[in-house]
C-alpha cells in the first residue's frame, strides 16, 4: 500500500463531507411534504436564477 498522505487525506475529507450530506439527506427525507415541496421549489428557483444570470 502506498504511504503517501495526499490521497488518503483527500479520501478522508471526502468521506466526512459525504457524511454531512447523508445527515442532511436523512433530514430532508424525514421532512413533512410541505417542507419538501418548498425546498424543491427553492432549489428550482436558484437554478433558474443562475440560468438567467441574476445572481
Amino acid at each position: 500500500m502506498r504511504r503517501g498522505w495526499g490521497l488518503p487525506l483527500f479520501l478522508r475529507l471526502r468521506d466526512w463531507s459525504a457524511w454531512a450530506v447523508i445527515i442532511v439527506e436523512s433530514h430532508l427525507l424525514a421532512a413533512p411534504p410541505p417542507v419538501k415541496r418548498a425546498l424543491r421549489d427553492l432549489s428550482r428557483l436558484l437554478r433558474l436564477k443562475r440560468w438567467i444570470r441574476i445572481d
Binding site: 500500500m1 502506498r2 490521497l7 488518503p8 483527500f10 479520501l11 478522508r12 471526502r14 468521506d15 459525504a18 450530506v21 447523508i22 445527515i23 439527506e25 436523512s26 433530514h27 427525507l29
Partner: protein
C-alpha cells in the same frame, strides 16, 4: 480499503456503523474508506494500491440497481491485481444469482458468510466458486461495548423491552415470529402490571446509542433469530411491489424458493450480542443463534409456538437466577473477547495476508 455504500439514513444502527468502521481501530495498518454511494473516480482506488479490499454488505447490496452495480464494478475493476479481496454479504437470500456472479467477476478471495456451513455448498455451489468461505457473524462486540458497565438487573426500571421493524410477508414465519414475540411480551407485562417498552411494525425506532441505553435499562428483552423463509435467486422479489409483499395472501414470485418450516435461513442478530454486552436477560425463541448462544445457559429458551413465553418472562423476575445467567453470558461471550471485532479482524487479516 473498505468499500461501503450509504445514502440518506442517519443515525445508523450501531452494529452497522461498527461493521464498517471497526476496521479502522482493529486493522493493523492504515485504513481508507470509500463510500461508493457518492460519485468517485476509480483511479483513486488504483493509486491508493491497497493490500486488502473489504467489500461491505452495503456495497454488495448495490447489485440491486443497475447504477449501484455499475459503481461497484468500476471500483472493483480498479483494485490492483495483487490486492486481496474480501466480501461480506448479509442478504444472500435476495438476488443470489447476481451475487454469485459478482463474487466471481470481482475475483473475491474470501467470502465471509453468516450462513450455517451445511448450507454453503447449496448457496455457493463448489463448481461455481473461486473463493474460500469463512463463517462470519452478523455483528461482533466493539471495544466500547466490551468496556460498558451495566447496572444489576434488580435496579432496572423496565421489565421487558423490544423493537421490531415492519416484517414483510416474504420473511415468512421468521417475520411473523418477530412481531408476535413482541406482542406477547407486551401482553405479559400488562397482565402482571410490569413496565414494558415494546414497539413492533417499525414504530418508535431506536438507533445508535439509544438502543443500547434501552437495553441497559431493561431487565429482560425478547427476541428471535434473524433470517428468511424465502430464497430469491433472480432478484424478482426486489423488483416486485414490496408494498403488496407485506399484505396477507401475498404469493411469492415463481422464481422464489420457499424454504420448508424448520429449514429457514437463520442467524443470530446483532441485538442478541448487544443484550449480552448490556447484561440483559434474554427470552428467545429456541434456535442455534449461530452457535454462539446456548439455550438455558446464555438465554431463556421459548418454544416456537410461544406457548411458554409467560413462564420464561416470569423467570426474569427472579433476580438471582437471572443475574447469574447474564453474568455468565457476559463472561463467556463478551469479556472473553472471543466475539470481538478486534479478534475477528485480526483472524481475517492473518488468513488473507499470510
Amino acid at each position: 480499503m473498505v468499500l461501503y455504500n450509504w445514502r440518506g439514513q442517519w443515525p445508523m444502527r450501531r452494529w452497522e456503523h461498527q461493521r464498517i468502521f471497526a476496521w479502522k481501530t482493529c486493522f493493523p495498518g492504515p485504513v481508507t474508506f470509500l463510500n461508493i454511494g457518492f460519485p468517485f473516480n476509480p483511479t483513486w482506488v488504483s493509486q491508493l494500491d491497497p493490500d486488502l479490499v473489504m467489500v461491505d454488505a452495503t456495497a454488495l447490496a448495490a447489485r440491486y440497481t443497475p447504477i449501484g452495480l455499475g459503481g461497484l464494478r468500476r471500483a472493483m475493476d480498479a483494485v490492483p491485481a495483487r490486492a486481496r479481496r474480501v466480501a461480506a454479504p448479509l442478504d444472500e437470500f435476495l438476488g443470489l444469482q447476481a451475487l454469485r456472479a459478482l463474487l466471481v467477476e470481482t475475483r473475491i478471495d474470501l467470502l465471509l458468510t453468516a450462513l450455517e456451513p451445511v448450507l454453503w455448498d447449496e448457496v455457493y455451489p463448489v463448481d461455481q466458486r473461486s473463493y474460500v468461505l469463512r463463517r462470519f457473524l452478523t455483528a461482533y462486540v466493539d471495544d466500547r461495548l466490551m468496556r460498558r458497565s451495566s447496572s444489576d438487573l434488580a435496579g432496572r426500571p423496565i421489565s421487558v423491552s423490544y423493537r421490531a421493524w415492519e416484517t414483510p410477508a416474504w420473511l415468512g414465519e421468521m417475520g411473523r415470529l418477530k412481531r408476535e414475540v413482541g406482542l406477547r411480551a407486551e401482553a405479559w407485562a400488562q397482565a402482571g402490571g410490569h413496565r414494558a417498552d415494546v414497539a413492533v411494525d417499525g414504530q418508535r425506532r431506536l438507533a445508535g446509542e439509544a438502543w443500547i441505553r434501552l437495553l441497559g435499562a431493561s431487565r429482560a428483552v425478547v427476541g428471535v433469530e434473524g433470517g428468511s423463509s424465502i430464497v430469491d435467486p433472480k432478484g424478482d422479489l426486489l423488483t416486485s411491489d414490496l408494498a403488496s409483499a407485506g399484505s396477507e395472501g401475498w404469493t411469492p414470485p415463481s422464481s422464489a424458493i420457499v424454504l420448508p418450516r424448520g429449514g429457514e435461513i437463520r442467524a443470530m442478530s446483532p441485538r442478541h450480542l448487544e443484550a449480552v454486552a448490556t447484561r440483559t436477560f434474554q427470552v428467545l425463541v429456541e434456535g442455534d443463534y449461530s452457535g454462539v448462544l446456548e439455550a438455558g445457559v446464555h438465554y431463556q429458551p421459548v418454544r416456537r409456538d410461544l406457548s411458554d413465553i409467560d413462564a420464561a418472562l416470569d423467570r426474569s423476575q427472579d433476580p438471582q437466577r437471572a443475574q447469574a445467567m447474564v453474568d455468565r453470558a457476559h463472561a463467556e461471550i463478551v469479556a472473553s473477547g472471543r466475539y470481538s471485532w478486534r479478534t475477528v479482524v485480526g483472524d481475517i487479516t492473518r488468513q488473507v495476508l499470510a
